[in-house]
Symmetry: C2
Subunit: 336 residues, 2 copies
């Protein structure tokens, strides 16, 4: 039931198993006549190569592991789409692991990847400690960090400049004339949040304002729409509305938008609003959302290309830490 093996193909084609293997892996080494005969038999018998046997003997698989922080966030699914496309184009399969930000689940994912002897791993680590990854690398598994900078020269990473993004966002609000700006951020334990906030502070400083007093920071417990709405409700209840709000995330921003709307606060009339990530739903919102665009899909593509290059040319591969620049997308929520 399991399927026809290379031996049966060999017998049917009056050839040795080794030759069939050569047809599959180094076609140039076998004479055209026999090559055609073998490929025809392969098709007729419906033979499909046993990947595990191949991996076992060859010592390496054609598989990569992808550990996502949150499969429900369009940012990460865009990254995944890019990664899957490249992997598929180059003949690799993707094993998916959804960590949900849990360190234990992340650990579990890495173990599963190791058991499957994946060729490499794409991961957005939930904490800043990349030492665990060394365990993988000792097993000969390459690692590329996604949306997290590698502070070491022997590791590839692909990121987007979050400080620059924060600067762009706050700068845009300042350009629009806002002076009292509120920053709704996610947990400051998350590096991305810290960096974006730092960027906003620099923008204010550059405009001659004091970041400490001019930038009121509200830290939401999660980067979800619900958390954003609650933050907006608290802001409204406090009675001291800012002129503009910068959210660390489009999910937060959509929640804030809804909270303001329900309280009768007009956007952008009463308050300007800008998010971050430029997810597809940002433009679909009733008041389209200004945001900071990141090359998300590309992030996944490049990361996978780096990973597979590292796997393919272990000797001459040069580790790179790539950082993209984000881009401002001004829409209705910050006024025409």
């Amino acid at each position: 039931m399991g399927g026809v093996s290379i031996k049966e193909v060999a017998r049917a084609a009056r050839v040795s198993p080794g030759t069939v293997s050569n047809v599959l892996n180094r076609p140039e080494r076998v004479a055209p006549a026999t090559r055609d005969r073998v490929t025809r038999v392969i098709r007729e018998l419906g033979f499909v190569r046993h990947g595990s046997a191949s991996t076992l003997r060859a010592g390496h698989s054609r598989t990569i592991g992808l550990s996502l922080m949150d499969i429900g966030n369009p940012f990460f699914t865009d990254v995944a789409a890019g990664a899957e496309d490249v992997a598929s184009e180059l003949g690799y399969a993707v094993i998916l692991g959804n960590s949900g930000g849990s360190r234990a689940k992340e650990e579990h994912n890495l173990r599963v990847f190791a058991e499957h002897r994946v060729r490499g791993v794409l991961i957005t680590p939930s904490d800043g400690d990349p030492r665990r990854l060394d365990g993988l690398r000792e097993h000969g598994i390459s690692v590329v960090l996604v949306d997290h900078p590698a502070h070491r020269p022997d590791l590839c990473s692909v990121t987007v400049d979050d400080v620059a993004g924060g600067l762009l966002a706050a700068g845009h609000l300042l350009d629009r004339g806002a002076r009292r700006i509120c920053h709704v951020t996610g947990p400051l334990t998350i590096r991305q949040c810290r960096d974006r906030r730092e960027g906003a502070r620099r923008a204010l400083a550059a405009a001659g304002l004091d970041p400490e007093s001019a930038l009121e920071t509200v830290e939401a417990p999660a980067m979800t729409a619900r958390a954003g709405q609650e933050a907006a409700e608290r802001l409204v209840a406090s009675g001291r509305l800012p002129e503009a709000i910068f959210c660390a995330n489009d999910m937060l921003a959509l929640g804030v938008l809804r909270g303001l709307h329900q309280a009768g606060v007009g956007v952008p009339g009463d308050v300007a609003l800008i998010g971050y990530d430029d997810i597809d739903f940002a433009v679909a919102s009733a008041v389209s959302l200004s945001s900071i665009r990141q090359p998300t899909y590309k992030l996944g593509r490049i990361a996978t290309e780096l990973l597979l290059d590292e796997c393919g040319n272990p000797g001459e591969h040069a580790h790179r830490q790539i950082m993209f620049q984000p881009e401002l997308v001004a829409r209705e929520s910050t006024g025409r």
Copy 2:
């Protein structure tokens, strides 16, 4: 570099390789003393089982394939989250394939799954022809259809009643007093779209209206926000606005909402609006969107449970075609 093998563990623990294997797979068969000794050595040496070798010898892997139609659609990522959770809980790994609706890519995914000798496959087929799946099943690979009914008794499937959903949606609009209803659907080649439309027709018929004349149908070329916005613009331009709009999809509905808003048409004041899927962004919209909720995450969970049951008990497994009932979620877009 590849890692330490079961033999080295055996040598270090003064035991035969077979015993190490038993410790891993049937711990009850080995004496507690040696069991402890072996597990300690395993930990000390950092041994991790070679999954491919295990698969090769055992004849079956601990892996399932997941072929998604659109990894960018929250509906499918919710399903994926449910599937990944169950698979992970039961010790299975998930190989991800994103078909994007392309039949060729879907074919490619299935081939990759077959090569990896996955235990089973979860798939939302892009067309109605499940014959290709028989190829997999001949290889001993189980298949469960997700969001697509199996019209055969020898195949499991997990779906949601789209006719009932369409009936709920249109019924709700009728309850709100609407009589002239417009249905913005996706391509009618998609089964889900046909069924939801059929449900809407039945609701109108039950209310004593003629479905042909009372239900104006606009077929959008894709189920995206952009397509929805364009549909709304055409509707506004035609000058004959309906009293209510039922969209086959929340993506379409968000686009329609935006198109109406930009044209100065109030929702729900001038036109009531309802979508389908109840994605998270439906509630985050500035005017929260009424929708039809499907147990999306559960869909993925149940499908995976069925699949792994079929793999685990090939003899006594009873194929089931499960159909869930959708649920109306009334929000602001259809008036309080």
